[in-house]
Subunit: 166 residues, 4 copies
């Protein structure tokens, strides 16, 4: 049965956690369930976590996996949690895969600072994406820096750590 | 000159901070500037803080002050940070004051747990409200629990600590 | 069998948690187990929680309960988590109850800001108390503000929110 | 004029902060002043920060720099914030440098999780070290895992992320 929303997690900075033994940021189970509870979000959410990787190392094949997840989603409204470095690239792959008859609203978001660190933007960005996906019409979008970008008019400014229009 | 967004803070649980000397949650300067920085939000925001009170003790006169702030706003897009207990009541006062020719998008939000406490929903809710105000058409709305409510179809479920449709 | 350490929790600001439904700071189960895990503390600890109250409302009878817990402790080393407002008063009651032949090291500590709030001093103070109780000789002490006070040479400066020598 | 305490920071996990642009944990200005304020510590503290490095990459020369700082300290009580991986090694270099006539109390501590991350042990460990340095007699010690170790009877268990007796 379709839920009100699907969230596809792919890893990225958003979901990185510190491994005290290894002494580095890494991926464990997604923190999405915990964040949705903290957010006191009452939407019914279908969580899907095909990947847990740094987006710098995401292959073309993996981008197509994300697109396949979107295409086969029972839910019309999809949030994709993604690393910021290649978010725009995967959004383009997904947009192409969805085609012109696309009836899904797909919103990409991520974080510049992991959820588990102080001053993280993860929870804010998730709030933006969950709202955007409920209010926008069908299409592929990127929600970062407090703004809503069409997938084909968005670029990460790596020096400033923000997303901008082209 | 108009900014992209106006945020009107009125206090409420969202903005409560612990006073270590008094041993209680109270109001100091609004934490909005700090939260917008944490959110890495690049929108130009006009902050306005007419009140810093618990919404349980908000008078009718104070609700009309909030409405007056909305009416005189140079910005068409307005987020109102408000205590949850009487958020719907103030939204109704504002909706009536804006009238049928209203061209402003006004989104109320707040928090069940103060920003300065662990597991707060404040930052998530602010992300929701800031996105809703950019994507909705003119009207008065409430953004809580991950959902977007019209002002006249929303009630706080005080037992569960969530917002619901009537 | 005796553990290396006994921690007696009585409530106080240290252990207050926010109740989102009631909208106030209150007491739930003690957060000590979670804090000891965060501290990566490997000492074997016997936790005892006879009370969960604001020390302003602690009765003489309850102070004697704390003293009775100390007297009957299998562990020689005892940390008492206590509200700051009457910490010195309970320490005096305990010191008298222990008498001149006391062989226990008893260290009181607490917090000016609850553990569950940002910028809390709770974890620091617990580290101080757990170390003091291992290094000091028999007696009753107060560990606050980074210092170690004998129970009869300590007062809370309520205006500054710190502990000082008399 | 001598302060009550000297804290020498060398970097290590304790003081790592996330760089949102680089996407990695790195060193900026030490967070010690902020932590001492959060701790509501009223001791007068002389802060000295000769190094900001990962202790895995600390050279013998740098260990001797730390020893030189200890030797020339006006304060008898010294806390050294150090990475955990080679903390015992530097402690040994310092102990040898101080010699048999040493009148300083020197306590090493660090963290398994950086201060700026959730569930960090940094603040607890600092509380332990600051108390140990006030209560112990002259010598070189390591405060980790809630325990106080003599420098020559301590080893990091890298698999468990704790410190143990030899």
């Amino acid at each position: 049965m379709a839920q009100e929303l699907r969230i596809i997690t792919t890893g990225g900075t958003f979901d990185k956690q510190y491994d005290a033994i290894k002494g580095e940021l890494t991926f464990r189970e997604s923190q999405l369930p915990r964040i949705l509870q903290q957010a006191r979000c009452t939407l019914t959410v279908q969580l899907e976590g095909p990947l847990a990787i740094d987006s710098l190392y995401m292959t073309e094949e993996q981008r197509h996996e994300v697109a396949a997840s979107c295409l086969s989603s029972n839910e019309d409204r999809i949030v994709v949690i993604h690393g910021t470095d290649t978010m725009c690239k995967t959004a383009a792959v997904v947009a192409e895969a969805m085609g012109k008859e696309n009836t899904h609203v797909i919103v990409f978001t991520g974080a510049m600072i992991p959820y588990s660190l102080e001053n993280s933007d993860a929870v804010f960005n998730l709030g933006c994406a969950i709202t955007a996906v409920q209010t926008l019409k069908a299409g592929v979008y990127i929600c970062m820096s407090g703004r809503i970008f069409p997938w084909d008019n968005c670029i990460k400014n790596k020096d400033k750590g923000i997303f901008e229009y082209l």
